[in-house]
């Protein structure tokens, strides 16, 4: 064994993570080098010391109070689906929710009066259109900027489990089925003149809570559009925007410093267990293309 192999074997032994084969190798090594038992002991004591040092911190009481107060009114669905979501927006919004909670009855009364006025001046059809919950604008802070993440997945080995070396829908479907257990039909944009350029998957240790996501790029020789598929349960959008099935979303990343990032806006929707993102939302016919691959249909003005 090389010194590095010995070192790793001793650490693995200290962590009690050895396989039976490693145990045999360790036994043989310690017979020849009994003094190395001290290294195992050292590694164990180092672990205890790390636990002691890093485990000393406790959450401040004020934080505990804040978190406790997140219950009840704070975790109810957002009053308006168009509300901003995220670290910069969540807490102020929550505080408002609590402040206005006692006056809920008054607000409801005013709402009834307002509704009566609206109904008296518009047609029932218009009213239905206004309340049709089929499209939602959401400013979301904390979601990944698609282009940067895509670049990261394509170039950083740490994140890309399988590089962007898939070039056919059949190959991708096979990969998803065999490696992820996903039964997903690969979106087809050929009707819009866009063909699959390449695809790959990405383990988003950064920016996606460890989401296994699939990135697909399509090209019409002039523009490139992308589709991002991920499982809904760990998807950051599930947590950030509460994605509901049957609803089309236009996600505008919200940055605390830079404000709304319209340039990186994208469409998102959920089908069953999967979340789809279509990028960008600004290319001509983007909306039609997104609808063509499964996004709930909406009128162009719905997102304006």
């Amino acid at each position: 064994m090389s010194p590095s192999e010995i070192a790793n074997l001793l650490r693995t032994a200290a962590d009690e993570e050895m396989t039976s084969e490693q145990s045999q190798r360790l036994e043989a090594h310690l017979e020849a080098h009994p003094a190395d038992r001290a290294i195992i002991d050292f590694e164990r004591r180092l672990r205890e010391a790390v636990g002691r040092v890093m485990g000393a911190d406790e959450a401040p009481e004020s934080l505990r109070d804040e978190v406790v107060s997140l219950g009840g009114a704070r975790v109810e669905p957002l009053p308006f689906e168009t509300a901003a979501v995220g670290p910069g927006a969540a807490r102020p919004g929550v505080r408002e929710g609590r402040r206005f909670l006692p006056s809920g009855l008054a607000a409801g009364f005013l709402l009834l009066i307002g509704a009566a006025v609206v109904i008296s001046v518009i047609s029932p059809r218009q009213l239905f259109e206004w309340f049709r919950p089929s499209q939602i604008n959401v400013d979301v802070e904390g979601v990944s900027g698609f282009p940067s993440e895509h670049h990261r997945c394509a170039t950083d080995e740490q994140y890309a489990r399988k590089k962007f070396n898939i070039h056919s829908a059949e190959e991708l479907e096979s990969h998803l089925r065999n490696d992820f257990g996903w039964e997903v039909e690969v979106p087809d944009l050929s009707a819009f003149g866009y063909n699959l350029l390449d695809a790959g998957d990405c383990t988003m240790g950064a920016g996606g809570s460890g989401v296994d996501s699939i990135h697909l790029r399509y090209s019409n020789d002039q523009n490139v559009v992308s589709v991002w598929i991920e499982h809904s349960l760990p998807s950051e959008l599930t947590h950030s925007a509460g994605l509901k099935e049957g609803v089309a979303y236009r996600i505008v990343p919200l940055d605390r410093r830079m404000g709304r990032d319209e340039d990186n806006a994208y469409f998102a929707w959920r089908i069953g267990e999967y979340v789809f993102r279509f990028v960008p939302a600004s290319v001509d016919r983007s909306r039609e293309m997104a609808v063509g691959i499964g996004m709930p249909d909406v009128t162009p003005s719905d997102f304006n």
Binding site: N8, V67, P87
Partner: protein, 189 residues
């Protein structure tokens, strides 16, 4: 699991989530902010939580990491430089380098803490988080891999690098207390 039960169980892990947030962000105020957002998202998604894959704590850790690294990505796009979350292997001993061997009999571990704390905080967040899950949470490689969503080999690699780095930092202390550091006593066989 109803929401009340979920809230109760989630709050049991507040300290653990805060510790992880502190290791990721380094700043108490940022850690508190991260924790609040983590719990807010967790509570909003409580009805979708399924108590499998290790329970609530790993799930909270995953949400926390999502929140933190999403912010890092955002900040890297902004005008203000953020901490470089990536480790530079050239600056630290790699996993292929042998751990130094120690004569440990005389080491006073109580004296180690301050030096160790400094050494830990000199590591990047990727290494601090794996150290925390290993040292404080007592997790197995497999459990850590699930939370970080990386292969077990990556967990071992990060952990071994981090430990090797800590040992290097503790070297001067060992010398101060008269401990002999025997470089490479584990000779190749």
């Amino acid at each position: 699991m109803d929401r009340g039960e979920f809230e109760t169980k989630a709050l049991e892990h507040l300290d653990a989530v805060y510790r992880m947030a502190l290791q990721l962000s380094r700043r108490p105020e940022d850690a508190s902010d991260l924790v609040q957002e983590t719990f807010l998202k967790a509570l909003r998604a409580a009805d979708r939580f399924e108590p499998k894959g290790g329970g609530i704590r790993p799930w909270l850790f995953k949400i926390l990491r999502n929140v933190f690294y999403s912010r890092v990505v955002k900040e890297q796009r902004g005008p203000i430089a953020s901490e470089n979350i990536h480790f530079h292997p050239s600056a630290r001993p790699g996993p292929d380098e042998a751990s130094p061997a120690w004569n440990l009999a005389a080491l006073n571990w109580e004296q180690v803490d301050d030096r160790l704390k400094t050494a830990i905080y000199s590591l990047s967040s990727e290494y601090r988080e794996v150290l925390l899950l290993w040292g404080v949470e007592g997790m197995k490689y497999r459990e850590i891999a699930l939370i970080l969503d990386v292969p077990i080999g990556t967990v071992m690699s990060r952990l071994f690098r981090a430990r090797a780095s800590l040992v290097q930092e503790l070297g001067p202390l060992a010398a101060e207390v008269g401990i002999r550091l025997e470089e490479g006593s584990s000779n190749a066989e």
